[in-house]
Amino acid sequence: MSDADNPATDAHEHHHHHHEGPGYVTPQAAIEESEPEEVAYVIGLYVGTDVDAPDFLGVVDVDPDSSTYGEVIDRVEMPNRGDELHHFGWNACSSSCHVEGLERQHLIVPGQRSSRLHVVDTKDRRNPELVKVIEPEEVFEHDLSAPHTVHCIPDGKILISMLGDRDGELPGGFLELNDDFEVEGRWDAPGEIEMNYDYWYQPRHNVMISTEWAAPKTYYPGFDLEDVEAGKYGRKLHVWDWENRTVEQTIDLGEEGMIPLEVRFLHSPVSTHGFVGAALSSNVFHFHREDGGEWRADKVIDVEPREHDGWDMPVPGLVTDLLVSMDDRYLFFSNWLHGDVRMYDVSDPANPRLADRIWAGGHFGPRHPIEGERAVHGGPQMLQLSLDGERLYWTTSLYSTWDEQFYPEEGEEGSVMLKADVNPRKGTMELDRDFLVDFGDMPAGPARAHEIRWPDGDCTSDVWL
């Protein structure tokens, strides 16, 4: 952690002259030096359906010159059913670029429902292999369950946000793995936070920010307004002292910040700016550290609810995923219930400007965004952007039980993965009509598709010291 102690010049010098290990020296280097992605890793789900098969990690061919472009070319089946594979991450990223011998080679793939942790070796990119499984009991020993966000952290370690205690109740916390993928223990002191969900750290500023969903036993079965009224869903941001692992400030986002989910700092390690989407309140907040050292968060984007034939209440915008382009110029977010994906110019992060949007599926987008292709039911959901910022991909499943409430067809027909070509210079997006990955067409039956990652790092996992 010496880099974090000596910001600016020292850390930079060190990186430029002694770059070892995985990752890129700077976000700009990631843009300049990366090759276009050829495969994507995408989660496929059967949990909660009558398909008698375990969830899998799919390898999707995203190379337009390949004969299998847009197809799932390999699947790593997990050993058990019932996992609900959800968010997953790399063992190493640019935060560990000075660690000799480490490679960005292993994916840590948690089961959200089972609390089982899988380690997948991607040395052969097109044929990854499951190499280790940490069983739920070992996780429960640390009074934690429901793994969510996986980030590599400096020194080859891995940190996983955990949403519940061993019984699926509050409080949640964080689990730490070492570079041999063994459970090191609990990262935080129990009780620092009640609820947990996503987190992102910015070591140059010794800060981590975590968000809140709810207790697993609350959100696992499905979304119930009764639970919202009973205050069982989160609306706070927690600002941590990264080194001391203590919460230094808690920001209550209030009614406009119900269920703050994905949190993303800008990639530049000198920045203290970032964004968080409040799913239920249909808002995006901008946060940053003020001159006095306190952090503040302000609502900067508000998605208006829309009337829908056949619904008693207007359909709220549900901001379920968001990401920032590697050059920190654009914010993309998914509006899952409405059915659009949006692109905002955030060169002035306190004043985002809508640049473009694409409608596909959802409750207001076209059912067949690509003519002649299969129907798209769920709206845009998990997003991933190429490192050069020119290709945006998304899948349509949110969470199996929540899908069932809002898009029952998603379970019957499976998800799709779609893609837009992005022009960062003009601030525009266009749906790629030659690309649709049909997760409804899997050997065991239709699957839900969730998070997307590619081998050389992506816009939602790399952190720079």
């Binding site: 949990v47 009558d50 008698d52 019932g82 089972s114 369950s145 699926g168 036993k217 696992y220 079965p221």
Partner: protein, 106 residues
């Protein structure tokens, strides 16, 4: 403890009859018999395995925390922590879980 006969009924009309060993949950008995039922956490927190008791008696091995009082009053049980205490008839399959929660805005 005795062994009991568990009759599983799906919404599409399919039925299976399996036997439970002493101290065995419905999910464990089904797995042993090679009958696939949906499940998730296996600790009573997630409701993926929700079934509806049509006949017989079950006891939950531990609290079915994913079920609200109204669900329990309606006869819903969690197959992952439910142990039969008599011969039982259960409605099962992934769509039973869907009855617990609906789209709140529709």
């Amino acid at each position: 403890m005795e062994t009991y006969r568990i009759t599983l009924e799906w919404n599409d009309g399919r039925t299976e009859s399996i036997k439970s060993e002493p101290d065995e949950t419905v999910i464990e008995a089904a797995e042993r018999a090679g009958v696939a039922l949906p499940f998730g956490c296996l600790t009573g927190a997630c409701a993926t395995c929700t079934a509806r008791l049509l006949d017989g008696r079950i006891e939950h091995r531990r609290e079915p925390r994913a079920l609200k009082p109204r669900h329990r009053e309606d006869g819903y049980v969690l197959a992952c922590v439910a142990e039969p205490r008599s011969d039982c008839r259960l409605r099962v399959g992934s769509d039973v879980h869907g009855e617990l929660v609906s789209n709140p805005w529709r």
